[in-house]
């Protein structure tokens, strides 16, 4: 179960990434953030973001155009 949820629905690149960064910076290490996005480009982008920042992408799920990314702050 996520500790925080960020709804980035309707937002386009690079806003989901910027808002994810902001949300994570307010959280403690080990906490879980769910990011909801409707931007298909964010699938690759969130993966790249986690790659570069060292945060852990636990899962990506898609449900009729809505993407949910579960990220653990590292």
């Amino acid at each position: 179960m996520a500790d925080e949820t960020l709804d980035a629905s309707g937002l386009n690149c690079p806003l989901p990434i910027l808002k994810t960064k902001k949300a994570l910076s307010k959280m403690d290490v080990g906490k879980i953030l769910d990011v909801i996005s409707t931007d298909a480009g964010s699938v690759k982008d969130i993966e790249a973001f986690c790659n570069q920042t060292g945060n852990k992408l636990i899962s990506t799920t898609e449900d009729s155009g809505k993407y949910i990314f579960t990220i653990e702050k590292v």
């Binding site: 309707g10 386009n12 806003l15 910027l18 960064k21 973001f49 570069q52 920042t53 060292g54």
Partner: protein, 173 residues
């Protein structure tokens, strides 16, 4: 691999039209979000991107044949038509057409959930992107330093080199 070891990035922003305001701010804000240390050096027309009042920024369809021009509203069939290649350059000489093209681009961006330029710019500042305005072109074009947003440093090309001394992302836009 994380970017920690070599995390410096610089951008030279040279263009001052509304559309070209986006690439430097998008790349810079995303860069800092991904733990890079980013500096943007604004020179020549790029200085316009640092003004407090950005309402005068326009897109210029003149001599820009690659610019798609679709209506962001109206019936579906109408929205599909790309007016860009259909309208002769002469059309854009008519007063008010540049304003119209800018208005339509803003509408299209809002419809697609693209951030406003000012929003991206303030996010850059919030994430500590360093903004340097080229002192020489500020003088050359007679800008008043009071017209620029807070947090801008004024310096020359040598400072750019100091900023670009490390890292391997250095972009010219």
């Amino acid at each position: 691999m994380t970017a920690k070891e070599n995390n410096k990035m610089t951008i030279i922003a040279t263009k001052g039209t509304f559309d070209w305001a986006f690439p430097p701010f998008i790349i810079a804000s995303t860069g800092v979000a991904m733990d890079k240390e980013v500096t943007i050096f604004f020179t020549f027309y790029g200085l316009n991107l640092l003004l407090k009042d950005t309402s005068k920024l326009r897109v210029s369809p003149i001599g820009n044949p690659s610019m798609p021009m679709k209506l962001p509203f109206g019936p579906k069939w109408l929205q599909k038509i790309d007016f860009g290649p259909k309208l002769p350059n002469l059309f854009w000489q008519i007063p008010g057409t540049e304003w119209l093209a800018t208005y339509l681009m803003k509408k299209t961006m809002a419809k697609h959930g693209v951030a406003k330029m000012e929003e991206l710019r303030s996010m850059c500042q919030e994430f500590d992107v360093k903004f340097i305005a080229c002192d020489m072109t500020v003088d050359l074009f007679g800008y008043d330093k009071a017209d620029f947003i807070d947090g801008v440093e004024f310096a020359g090309a040598a400072m750019y080199f100091d900023e670009a001394a490390s890292g391997d992302h250095h972009l010219y836009m």
